[in-house]
């Protein structure tokens, strides 16, 4: 079973890297980009095929290590 964890800065937390990308896109002539947020994707290969157990386990991983919940939110997709 695979888990895909998407980690993003929470809404309201300034994302300087996203802003830099937005400026660079503007400089390249891409008009109308009103906002850019940059995050990260972490892919996990998990043993077993119990989706409920996997979701609980990956949630714990996110809380303990994969995301810093002071500033980041996360989303888990299992497949």
């Amino acid at each position: 079973m695979k888990a895909r964890v998407q980690v993003m800065l929470k809404t309201g937390v300034l994302d300087p890297q996203g802003e830099a990308i937005r400026h660079a896109l503007g400089a390249l002539g891409f008009d109308g980009v009103e906002g850019v947020r940059q995050g990260k994707v972490i892919e996990l290969d998990l043993a077993g095929d119990d989706a409920t157990a996997a979701e609980a386990q990956v949630t714990e991983m996110c809380e303990k290590l994969l995301a810093n919940t002071v500033i980041e939110s996360y989303k888990i997709d299992l497949s």
Partner: protein
């Protein structure tokens, strides 16, 4: 007075930290990150600057999960003193010993220069040697020093007089110009500027010496 300086793969201010502590009169032992415990009788743990574990995932995140960090948390929870500088500050926020998080500098760039640093409170063993309202000149060198706390936490830090240092000219976008914060019991300090890089005339200034002298002095007499 006995201090332990933690060394992670990628730490690069560990020896400077040891030199600064020894100059202030501390007996210093270096502790490798794989050690499960701290040496006996340690009064102060210093978590130095650098790029522990290559700053992978988030600055300080991997280091915060290392065996020795478990011992550092226990030490702090028993009322022990902990000083985290730069990457050490990032590690302490990742362990939860200090509130908030350190994010990429608002200006994106790595900032490396001497900056004016204002004393936020003298009510701690780290800052009691400085004059109230004094401005120090201390170097900063970081890419991720943008301190973030939410508004309720900021209000609480202010109400509890836990902001140890503020920037005179905010170099990284930190909330409330915060450069250093204290724990609730005032025995854990995290700060982005490097006091250990300002303890010898050869460094171009000695404004950092006061922190080590007052801290070692307080722990010797304790």
């Amino acid at each position: 007075m006995k201090a332990a300086v933690i060394v992670f793969p990628g730490s690069n201010c560990d020896r400077d930290m040891a030199v600064a502590l020894r100059a202030a009169g501390a007996e210093v032992e270096m502790v490798w990150h794989k050690d499960a415990g701290l040496p006996r009788g340690v009064d102060l743990v210093a978590v130095p600057g650098g790029f522990s574990f290559g700053d992978y995932l988030r600055c300080g995140a991997i280091a915060a999960q290392s065996p020795v960090c478990r011992a550092v948390i226990d030490h702090a929870q028993k009322g022990g003193y902990v000083l985290g500088v730069c990457n050490g500050f990032q590690v302490l926020t990742e362990t939860g010993l200090l509130p908030g998080a350190l994010m990429r500098n608002a200006g994106i760039r790595f900032v490396c220069k001497s900056i004016p640093l204002e004393i936020g409170t003298t009510r701690s063993d780290f800052t009691s040697g400085y004059a109230e309202g004094a401005t120090l000149h201390i170097p900063v060198a970081h890419h991720d020093g943008n301190y973030f706390v939410d508004q309720p936490t900021l209000d609480r830090l202010r109400a509890e007089d836990r902001i140890a240092f503020t920037y005179g000219d905010n170099p990284n976008g930190s909330t409330g110009d915060i450069a250093g914060v204290l724990s609730e019991n005032r025995r854990v300090l995290g700060m982005m500027p490097h006091p250990e890089r300002a303890v010898d005339a050869g460094h171009g200034g000695t404004d950092g010496r006061g922190l080590f002298v007052s801290l070692v002095g307080a722990l010797v007499s304790a």
